[in-house]
Symmetry: C2
Subunit: 319 residues, 2 copies
């Protein structure tokens, strides 16, 4: 097993105790002689070194690679065809980031709606007073979530505590807890007319690439706040800039961009009513602990029979 992400000493001890037959290598241990012994990659992410290594293993007829555990929830960057051809299983880190991302979503909304943006400016001027006409209550507002997976469900749970009405859009349209209604992705247009807030947390696929484009923003009539905590390429940034400029959107918050980092020349930097976070919404304190705990049940099962119990990625859906 190759640990691309460092294991803590206690985690390494736990692996060695539970699975004495398992050899754990780090990137520094790799050589031409042990490369093909790797059966599991723990902590895979799309660094240059990671991409090179994975290509090399998938191209080698002697590679023993059977399972890749990514560090991210979204896995759009993987070479799915090659992985599938070689019958390599992929598991993602879905679920670990849900709490964090939901917290950022409400951080953005409350910053705008409770006029905290004004409060920050007023304090810097030692001015006691804000324009209360700009203060908005979240309760009784309509939240529309594109992608009711782990993260979307946690966003919905908090939204219900704030007494919001929650709508979702998914591929299947299947009902989920805390959503008042979920429609499938061919029937969401009627919901746009109700949306006060729109959140994207869909995986990036060919269908969701540039999903939020000019045609989408042109359908909006309610001046919602738009939040992207999914993937950057799902949003046409020029169209978003346009929608903020024309007022089709009241405000927006973006945590992801295409490409990242956001170019210094992007017009988004100058957009008023836009909050930018640098792909940090999913940041988790004690990530190492949470991540290892997603991996361990899978490893236990894998060592018994080569199968996995959770977070398995569908090689055709790519999420």
């Amino acid at each position: 097993m190759l640990a691309m992400r460092d294991l803590k000493p206690a985690q390494l001890t736990q692996l060695q105790t539970s699975f004495p037959e398992l050899t754990v290598l780090t990137m520094a241990d790799l050589s031409e002689t042990n490369l093909n012994d790797i059966n599991i990659i723990y902590g895979y992410y799309q660094t240059t070194a990671g991409k090179t290594l994975l290509s090399q293993l998938l191209a080698s007829s002697h590679s023993q690679l059977q399972w890749v555990q990514t560090i991210s929830a979204g896995v759009d960057y993987l070479p799915f065809k090659a992985l599938n051809d070689r019958h390599v299983l992929v598991t993602n880190a879905s679920g670990i980031h849900a709490q964090s991302i939901a917290q950022n979503v409400f951080g953005y909304l409350l910053y705008f709606e409770r006029a905290l943006d004004q409060a920050v400016v007023a304090k810097s001027q030692k001015h006691y007073g804000i324009d209360t006409d700009k203060i908005v209550n979240l309760d009784d507002k309509n939240l529309l979530i594109f992608g009711p997976g782990h993260v979307g469900q946690q966003i919905a749970k908090v939204a219900k505590a704030f007494n919001m009405t929650v709508y979702g859009v998914s591929h299947s349209g299947q009902a989920k807890a805390d959503f008042d209604e979920i429609v499938d992705d061919r029937h969401y247009e009627a919901l746009l007319a109700k949306a006060d807030y729109i959140v994207n947390i869909m995986p990036l696929t060919t269908e969701t690439n540039k999903f939020f484009n000019r045609a989408f923003f042109d359908k909006l009539t309610t001046q919602p706040i738009f939040i992207n905590v999914g993937r950057g390429p799902s949003v046409d940034e020029a169209a978003l800039h346009g929608a903020l400029t024309t007022g089709q959107l009241k405000a927006a918050a973006l945590d992801v961009f295409d490409p990242e980092p956001l170019a210094a020349t992007s017009p988004l930097w100058d957009d008023a009513n836009l909050m930018i976070t640098p792909h940090t919404s999913g940041y988790v304190q004690h990530f190492s602990h949470a991540y290892f705990n997603v991996f361990l049940p899978n490893l236990t099962q894998f060592m018994q029979d080569g199968t996995l119990v959770q977070n398995l990625v569908d090689m055709h859906k790519h999420y």
Copy 2:
């Protein structure tokens, strides 16, 4: 009935239809000849005109005043002894502000904990990046709420959706929904050692006046974030300034001050890690509607038998 707060035309029509025997006066209608006819004051607040009028009515042996409906939830400013001597009932606006105040509380917390303060500064510099070591997750944190009334309970409800542990301190120590534990106000000190976040939403009484003073802040060991959405005089502002300066508090947010507005000379304006909102946390869109709906069931009962069904203030507890 005197309407110190304007009634909307539809509300006035509703009153005239339901209670044809009721005469509704506005402040402009008042004269020496009708002053003593006032039996109800709707929308009372501590303006100079309000205070003068109330004193005059309470001092007049011919006054018919029976009931004062305040515009605020906290009623610490009322002349309780005189009201009690004259057997005047008081109802407050408790409950109307709960959703709004809870939203501000989480707006403050998420602004600090999800490093949105850094994000705002970084955007102004067109800089993509923040110090992720400063990002904190709310889940699994301990929230300590002083005052588990309507507002405190709504704060607790949202905190549970964020997977926080919620403690409360009240006069009775009586259990409430969404609180993991509530202790009485003589036994809260053990909870201070666990507190990541402390919120004050207690009514202002002689017991809560300057409750959050230097002795209180000196007991803190966890560098919590402190939020005051209750009443300004419950906090010793000089002690709070000291606690922010020494780092006893990680950060703070204040919506209320003593006096208001906060003086331009206050050292609080220069405190880093302090958010100031100008008594706007309870701001409610469509307040007029919500307020009238708190009043109406009471008026209906009052017109029948002179009693009230909700939001009655205890003349000895003062809340």
